[in-house]
Amino acid sequence: MTTFVDQVRELGVKQAVIAKTDEVVERITAGMNVNDVRAALRGDEPRRPNPRLRPHADSFWLHIRPSFYHTEVTNIYPTFRLGWLSTFMFVWETITGIILMVFYTPSPLVAYGNMWNILANVPLGQLFRNMHRLGAEVMVIVVALHMLRTFITGSYKKPRQFTWATGMILLVLTLLLSFSGYLLPWDQLAYWALTVFLSASEAAPAPPAVNQNILLIAQGGPSLGANGLLRWYLLHVLLMPLLLGIFFFVHYYKVVLHGLSLPPGREEIGEDTAKRVPRDERTYFIPDLLTSELMWTALLSLFLIAGSLWLWDAPLETHADPVVTPLHVVAPWYLSWSQGWLKLADKTIIVGFIPLLMVAFIVMPYFEVGKSRRYADRRVGLSVSMVFIAFMLVSNWMGTPEFRVESSPDREVSIKVLPEEGPSLLMAVPYEEIQPGSYLPGQVVSGSPHLTEALAYYKTILEEHSCTMGNPALTDFHVAACRIEEGGTGEKRYGVGINNKEAMPDPYSELRVEEVQDGLLELNLYYEVANPDDLNEILNISDDWVKHKHIDSNYEEECRYFNKC
């Protein structure tokens, strides 16, 4: 062990520096000196003993990764790199999440203000928030696809059953992470989505005392409030990531222990040769897979940054209001399937069924019948899974608002034309284009193309919720004839369409615009329905749907993102 000074005396400064650099590089890489690194970068054959294996033995981060993979699993097929992608998304979410934590406090008094602060006052705040939210949705998709791929290639079979089990736990943790994060903005969307979902826990098939206490613990009180926000925040930033990290390491350890399963056609049935990799079919981690992973990191980062900037925008509705339930409470899309299921069966059955389904999934590999992973031998299993996927997709679609119970037709029109929350065609019309006055649906306003477009949309929606009794409508509508039903009290109900949805008979409707302050417009939707049997009698007047539009509010900007208008 010569010191640096001795080396200088022996070799001269230049040589000594080179030797020292070499030594340092070898220590940093845990086994590869400068020449080894350059040889790896050049794509040369390594010297023997292979220095590229030493980092895997001696360094912490690389000891987790295998030093080589079977060449057949390093292409897109069969893994599609989804496991790697899931991990990447988790790291992405952790980093963007920690950054957002700098500007967020989990108290109902300030959480919402913090969100606006992040959007309006923190440089790149909107970008980071969008990246975190987009990342969360991508992660849910990727994790689900990973599970699907593992099922299809039969990689859950012996000896990998425990890997699958931990994977299912990881799936549940991912969904819980997404669910808990959803509450944090403390806007109407967050508050009510969580309230509805948590109250479902009260429906579990257990004695009411147990259910009520579960609900109390989950909400932190008789309803969602400061304690609830704090609890879900702790779950979101501490407990769930910790559990996810722990189970991730268990999961990945098992993956490396058993090796990545080969494509089904490559092995004998019932055999698992993943760990016995012939020398000529090895792809080493350094440098090939490292390069690959770096490339995918680059591509994905670009996709996520550009997507967060131009394609997609996280919503922020109005402040959470525990006493006002908006008309459009909607589950996050990845939980829409449960809303769909709730429409099919009683909630006690559904809430009891879901944990059973989880358990069934977890233990499934332990009860597997066939040893073969080949597709041709697993027709039944694959068909069942396809049917299940189709069912989940249909349930997801059924859970969307289109299928919710309708309120009165004038409200239905108002919800679409001037929604309570978020931008719409009408709100996104540039301020200067809307002059005070009244406008008919479908009216063409010269010099105001956006307003004309919004009014055309207004007319379309109005037509969807109207029917005609042959009385002259005040604008030319294209509507079907009314179907009349008489209720028990002599009241008539007018319906239209396949499912006899309630409609207004020959309504008169207009948009009234008033400038109440400098730069502030009041938009009011007015509906008037006359009794078709006696046109002088007004059946119903509805004029209480009001929204204000300020000249600075950036609804136009919101509408540019594809998930908004």
């Binding site: 790149l124 390069t291 490339m295 670009l302 402040h319 109440v516 204000h548 300020h550 509010s553 900007e557």
Partner: protein, 282 residues
């Protein structure tokens, strides 16, 4: 392999450019969003104002057009005008000075909203003090009210009439009073909100009933007959506070009766004669 290196490099470089682009646009975006934030607060404030404040302060915040929340009938505005030069114009508005407020205008409005004005009809609004509204809702309403401050409002010169000390001097300048117009003003200036109407004693719910003021007005203050008493009561409500009010002893000093009638009637001082003609039943 080389393809992957190139793809990776190009991706990172494009990502750099994208981030750079975002950074360049960020300053203007932040300004836009800040303005949008205030815009949306004003929108929410307008909605809250309609729901909670318009019944007393008027549909256009001028304390001129108030409607009963249940029946829709026009009623007297009990509240003070908010869309009002004396409240909103200048860094320190006239109202702030009159109330000895040394903080900001925004704080003045927010604190009035939050705690109300004890001794008057202005309730406590903040949930921190037992009211129904959250802090952010109070802030929204305050932003809405502040948004009434425009150049138009503030550039119009504030007319302050120099009210004579006694009704006798005032009547010399404005001898004729129109009782019919006075009855209208009795509603639009908000008198009915507290004093009810002149016909039914039970209609006065806050302030003393005025149906017999012509007879009893002279008995309250030494040296003031009924007319001088009414004149003083309108222009300086806290100069003398009657002991009995419909709900018990009258509150104050200072009197809950608004003290800004001198300012509000400055543009048309004739109005005072009309109102007094109506009240005194002349």
């Amino acid at each position: 392999m080389q393809v992957k290196i190139i793809i990776g490099t190009v991706s990172f470089m494009i990502a750099m450019m994208v981030l750079g682009y975002a950074a360049i646009r960020e300053t203007t975006r932040l300004e836009r969003f800040s303005a949008a934030r205030t815009g949306r607060q004003i929108e929410m404030g307008a909605h809250l104002y309609n729901q909670n404040c318009a019944t007393c302060h008027g549909v256009y915040a001028k304390a001129e057009e108030c409607y009963d929340a249940g029946t829709g009938e026009p009623i007297g505005c009990i509240g003070l005008p908010l869309n009002y030069n004396a409240l909103l114009c200048g860094d320190t508005s006239l109202r702030m000075e009159a109330m000895n407020w040394s903080g900001t205008k925004e704080a003045f409005i927010q604190s009035t909203l939050a705690s109300g004005r004890p001794g008057t009809e202005m309730p406590t609004w903040s949930e921190n003090f037992g009211g129904p509204l959250r802090d952010d809702q109070i802030e929204n309403i305050a932003q809405f009210i502040l948004n009434y401050e425009t150049e138009e409002l503030c550039s119009a010169p504030l007319v302050v009439f120099d009210w004579p000390d006694t009704y006798e001097e005032y009547s010399a300048e404005f001898p004729e009073g129109d009782a019919a117009h006075g009855e209208e003003l009795f509603l639009t200036l908000g008198c009915t909100g507290c004093h009810g109407n002149l016909e039914d004693e039970a209609s006065a719910t806050v302030g003393p009933w005025l149906g017999n003021i012509a007879e009893v007005g002279g008995t309250f203050v030494e040296g003031l007959n009924a007319e001088e008493y009414v004149y003083q009561s309108i222009l300086e409500p806290s100069a003398f506070i009657v002991p009995e009010c419909p709900t018990g002893p009258c509150a104050g000093p200072p009197s809950p009766m608004p003290d800004n009638f001198p300012l509000r009637m400055s543009e048309n001082p004739q109005d005072l004669q009309d109102v007094m003609t109506y009240i005194l039943g002349k």
